[in-house]
């Protein structure tokens, strides 16, 4: 018994680290309506500031604490609200997620760019002295760190519960989350309420960051990212609603980890696996078991009909003459590109553009699942990896040509995607996104590192690439990549114009009506996932050939997130968007190699795209798409001097003054019960 307690008790403060983050995440969701992916990043920013202020600027701890937690925490929260989240209508779940992901991806990158990438060591402790043992429970020493975390958890939990359940402010926050307009009709200043919510959330994040920092010898973003995953799991079990449950699950997870580690042999692979895998196993279990997660983010703002209708895509606006002009321009550009690549293009740029083609294929898979399927999948890099590793291993062990292997890999990726689709069949929106993250983490932590799957860094032999001439250093690769991309584009366009595309459009519009018409939602869901998997798998194989190596670092979950951020910026609904994303990604990286940075300008690229994705709030069609529309319309007017104005017409609504969007959200006389 003592043995058990000896293992279990230290698990409590360990689990409290999860609980602190989880409770903050749930609070943010309850108070702002946003599942804040960036919560961990906010925590990290404050921890970083605190440590730097104490260690480099030599400020006294209390002052650094005030600046980093009391000022920076809420301040950052207010900025996020004012500049970003306020612009997103409550009903736009994807935008809320995407902005959070962009912040999650962008924050560490921008800190790295601004302050250099040196990690800080031994962050100072605020509450209790970390080394002093304060008491003993069942002969287990409880030291300062343990005490800090436990006390913090309890205080935060009690305070936040009181806020949300007992105060009028908490009530107003919950009302504002559902509908800012409705709450305004009751006389409540929704703007101020929401800002307060973000400030409180920011404060909690900062507090968590600073108080947790001394537990880890080295202050790095990855720690907080890992804590976030555990926080997702605990929050999921709490259905994003109950803070006590989130705290409890967090503690249970901590205890489970330490108990397992205690009983398992110290050096075994299971021991370390338990630590890293438990969070996403718990997350997966929640997503499969907890019914409340199926209807996350489903309430509709009853007054959303006051918003003006969404703008049409550029393609819909172009005059036919302009349309033809643009099409011709594309063909010309394409031909010029092909000719150039085959003749005079310098080697460096040829490699860059080859990579561009490959990434375009991978990004097309995002166009399929997110643009057409309407679901946010955060596992596309993972699917690409499945394809890549399958092909590589077949080449390695069976000497199979990677071209054939690529097809097998695509099938394998499709299979994984189908499993994912079935596992997530009742989830939509946020729940689905979390499921895909769980899958990505699973592969990152258990499958990809296995030696049988990816001997890290093994180099491909040219003979594996089929006919031997498809050597990434020759023109032949370019021809193959170009051909594959064109085929994929063709396939996507056919599907979009075809029955599947129409069904998906109906599902995006209203799943109820779609099912009521005879559309088998599950089947469509599975099919689009499978097709997306095939395309991602093909892209993965091609990436492996192009890079010359099958490396898990090319396919981890951070890249899955980054990919989504990138494609969303250029436009997730169109094929053009995917191609622009693919080329933009690699060209930018190349251009930024002239700027000193950690690994080849990647951080700056991420920052750039993250900023782009932040504009998703105001321009859900993609910031690039928005700019294209403006310029296309101006150009049109210039060239053709047509009546097509540069701004939308202020004229009568088509149905004789009828309110356009109220038609879609009709009087909701809900006869329920």
């Amino acid at each position: 018994m003592e043995h058990f307690l000896g293992f279990a008790l230290p698990g409590i403060p360990y689990g409290c680290t999860y609980s602190i983050m989880a409770v903050g995440l749930v609070l943010t969701y309850q108070a702002t309506g946003v599942f804040n992916f960036a919560y961990g990043a906010q925590a990290y920013v404050s921890a970083y500031a605190f440590t730097r202020l104490v260690q480099d600027q030599h400020l006294p701890i209390w002052l650094a604490f005030v600046l980093a937690v009391v000022v920076l925490g809420p301040g950052l929260g207010l900025v996020l609200d004012r500049l970003l989240f306020r612009k997103i209508p409550t009903t736009n779940t994807v935008a809320k997620l995407v902005v959070g992901i962009a912040l999650f991806v962008g924050f560490p990158a921008i800190l790295s760019v601004l302050f250099g990438s040196n990690n800080q060591y031994n962050p100072p402790s605020v509450l209790f002295n970390p080394d002093t043992v304060y008491l003993r429970v069942f002969r287990t020493p409880i030291n300062g760190i343990y005490l800090s975390t436990i006390v913090t958890t309890v205080v935060i939990l009690v305070a936040l519960l009181a806020l949300m359940r007992l105060t009028n402010l908490g009530l107003q926050m919950r009302g504002a989350v559902e509908s800012r307009r409705l709450v305004a009709l009751d006389g409540v200043n929704a703007g101020r309420v929401v800002a307060t919510a973000w400030a409180i959330s920011g404060l909690m994040a900062a507090l968590a960051g600073v108080l947790l920092a001394p537990i880890y010898g080295q202050l790095q973003f990855e720690t907080y990212a890992a804590l976030m995953v555990a926080a997702f799991a605990a929050a999921a079990w709490a259905v994003l609603r109950s803070m006590p449950i989130a705290a409890l699950v967090g503690i249970l997870m901590g205890v489970t980890v330490t108990v397992l580690q205690g009983y398992l042999p110290v050096d075994s692979v299971w021991s370390s696996a338990a630590l890293t895998s438990l969070p996403f196993i718990v997350l997966l279990a929640a997503l499969l078991i907890v019914p409340g997660l199926r209807s996350l983010d489903r309430t509709k703002d009853p007054l959303s009909s006051v918003d003006p209708p969404a703008p049409p895509t550029t393609a819909a606006l172009r005059a036919p003459k302009m349309d033809r002009g643009i099409r011709i321009a594309w063909y010309v550009l394409l031909s010029a590109f092909i000719v150039s690549m085959l003749t005079w293009m310098p080697k460096t740029w040829e490699t860059v553009f080859n990579a561009g083609l490959v990434y375009s294929v991978i990004f097309l898979s995002i166009t399929l699942i997110t643009g057409m399927g309407g679901q946010l999948s955060l596992a596309q890099a993972t699917l690409a990896g499945v394809g890549a590793f399958t092909a590589a291993q077949l080449a390695n062990h069976l000497g199979l040509s990677m071209l054939i292997g690529g097809l097998v890999g695509a099938a394998a990726a499709a299979l994984v995607a189908v499993v994912l689709a079935f596992a997530s069949v009742r989830l939509r929106g946020l729940g689905l996104a979390l499921m895909t993250i769980a899958a990505a983490l699973f592969f990152d932590n258990t499958a990809f590192p296995q030696e049988t799957i990816s001997t890290p860094g093994f180099d491909l032999k040219p003979t594996w690439v089929g006919l031997g001439i498809l050597d990434p250093n020759g023109h032949a690769f370019f021809i193959m990549a170009m051909a594959v991309l064109l085929v994929c584009v063709f396939v996507v366009l056919l599907i979009r114009k075809g029955t599947l595309g129409r069904y998906l459009g109906a599902m995006r519009g209203s799943e109820t009506a779609a099912a009521g018409m005879g559309i088998n939602l599950t089947w469509q869901h599975v099919v689009i996932f499978a097709v997306s998997g095939v395309v991602a798998g093909i892209g993965g194989t091609m990436l492996t050939i192009q890079q010359g190596t099958a490396n898990p670092n090319l396919f981890n979950y951070e890249l899955s997130l980054a990919f989504v951020v990138i494609v969303v910026t250029t436009g997730v609904r169109t094929v053009e968007g995917a191609i622009q994303a693919g080329f933009g990604f690699v060209v930018l990286q190349q251009l930024l190699t002239y700027v000193p940075a950690r690994w080849g300008g990647n951080n700056l690229v991420i920052v750039f795209f993250a900023f782009g994705a932040l504009t998703y709030a105001a321009h859900p069609e993609g910031i690039l798409e928005f700019q294209k529309r403006r310029w296309t319309l101006r150009f049109e007017r210039l060239l053709f001097r047509t009546g097509a104005p540069s701004e939308p017409v202020v004229g009568d609504a088509p149905d004789g003054g009828a309110v356009p969007s109220s038609a879609v959200i009709a009087p909701a006389v809900h006869d329920h019960g």
Binding site: G498, G505, G509, S510, T512, A513, A514, V659, S662, P667
Partner: protein, 255 residues
């Protein structure tokens, strides 16, 4: 055709939500070629019953048969393919699509399970037959002039008509319409009633309507069923039902 044989048979259906009995015992029947009006105060369970028939909700007891075939356990899309058409209390149109596309998708979903390879072989363009049916339905409902507009640019009345057309294009044997005239003005309601009567006359379509507009109900339905607090409290012709003392007390508030 309209031969008066039972088409929809609802028997002793029960449904409870978290301790509250939305429907405690509902039975009704719709025969081929007849229009039945389902009326009653709010909270009576009418939309809940619709949702049970269509498959969005699973009742806790009872049975629902379409043409002798038990529907319980069958997913919504399969019931739709058997020939149940539905319009919704809150208009559920597809904001991105044009009116014509709505009908086309509905037609395909009912009759043709889209295969991806057909898409890839580019055999997915609308066929002449499909186009003809879509045009005919647009004419029938009276929205042919708006066929190319995206629904997001139409008013509520037009959207309800689009929903109706979408349900009709697949030629259902049974139409379930949930407050189809809600939010429509007098002119549009009159048009709607005309369409419904024509469908009964020319196609023998059976319908179950939830309605609050008693004038329209009086004009259109063959029989009326009154629900209150989860129970069917009266059944018969419109006049019979409206003179029933229990109904007058519960629904109309008169002695």
């Amino acid at each position: 055709m309209a031969d008066g044989s039972p088409l929809l048979e609802v028997r002793e259906v029960r449904k409870t939500f978290g301790g509250i009995a939305a429907i405690s015992d509902a039975s009704l029947r719709v025969r081929r070629g007849e229009i039945v009006g389902l009326v009653g105060p709010n909270g009576a369970g009418k939309t809940t019953l619709f949702n049970c028939v269509c498959g969005q909700l699973r009742p806790d007891g009872g049975s629902i048969e379409l043409d002798g075939r038990e529907l319980l356990g069958m997913p919504t899309y399969r019931r739709a393919r058997l020939g149940i058409g539905r319009t919704y209390q809150r208009v559920e149109v597809f904001p991105d699509m044009t009116v014509r596309d709505h009908l086309l998708v509905a037609l395909r979903a009912r009759h043709r399970q889209g295969r991806v390879w057909k898409d890839l072989l580019n055999m997915s363009a609308p066929t002449a037959d499909e186009e003809a049916r879509v045009e005919a339905t647009l004419e029938l409902v009276g929205i042919a002039d708006r066929a190319g507009s995206p629904v997001s640019s139409l008013g509520l009345g037009s959207c309800r008509l689009v929903e109706l057309a979408r349900a009709l294009v697949a030629e259902p044997v049974l139409l379930l319409a949930d407050e189809p005239s809600s939010g429509l003005d007098v002119h549009e309601t009159r048009e709607l009633a005309g369409v419904l009567k024509m469908l009964r006359r020319d196609r023998g379509m059976a319908m179950l309507l939830v309605e609050h507009d008693l004038g329209m109900v009086a004009d259109v339905v063959d029989r009326a069923v009154v629900m209150d607090l989860g129970l069917v409290i009266a059944e018969g012709t419109f006049d019979e039902v409206m003179t029933d003392p229990t109904v007058r007390h519960a629904y109309l508030g008169v002695a």
